[in-house]
Symmetry: C2
Subunit: 123 residues, 2 copies
């Protein structure tokens, strides 16, 4: 597989925070061959480590899917700078996708989760 | 309806950021009678405004569903303090649900969005 999907979370020193993201990522990691989770900061593996690992394995192109509900300063400013640096350092092409929260599937999942919880509460 | 669902987002001065959350909330707001979106800060309506509006309309209990992927400082510290203050100020009961990212539906939606995007890219 020449293109590798990377699910990018912010990262935290709080282990429970990272575990939530690992659970969120699991269905994708199981469904998409070669996909990885990575963190911007404060947790491992870092984005740099995951790009380096992929480049060493022969991947020349990556798609970063941000596990963020919306684009704030990190996605508008910090991550694009990281992407340019990593492209140059590893001679690879990196596409930064919109935040996952902009995908319509997420709004439907929020509805389903709320409705399920409501039904569970009233049973 | 005696219990009102409030989808709570962080808030931002960036209009595009808030629009992303309004889109995320729309399927729930359409499906769940009386539900509302509210912001912690930097955008309106505020959580306080939405609780006050509901209390004035006769609601005595609210469930806050955080539109956050995981629980950081805001959900562990700041929102519980806001909840206690609002309960006392409006003589209502407020339940703080876990962040929406802890619902399994979200991980499945991320997978579906990524797989759809991959398929779209390779067509």
């Amino acid at each position: 597989m020449s293109n590798r999907i990377i699910l990018l979370a912010h990262g935290s020193s709080d282990r429970h925070w990272c575990e939530t993201f690992e659970k969120l990522a699991t269905p994708t990691l199981e469904a998409v061959d070669g996909s990885r989770i990575a963190y911007m900061e404060l947790a491992s593996p870092s984005l740099e480590d995951v790009i380096a690992e992929g480049a060493n394995a022969g991947c020349t192109s990556f798609t970063i899917v941000p596990l963020f509900l919306a684009a704030g300063r990190h996605l508008r400013k910090d991550v694009p700078v990281m992407v340019k640096t990593l492209e140059a350092a590893h001679n690879v092409s990196i596409q930064l996708a919109p935040p996952i929260g902009e995908s319509p599937q997420l709004g439907h999942a929020i509805r389903d989760a709320v409705v399920t919880e409501l039904q569970a509460d009233t049973q």
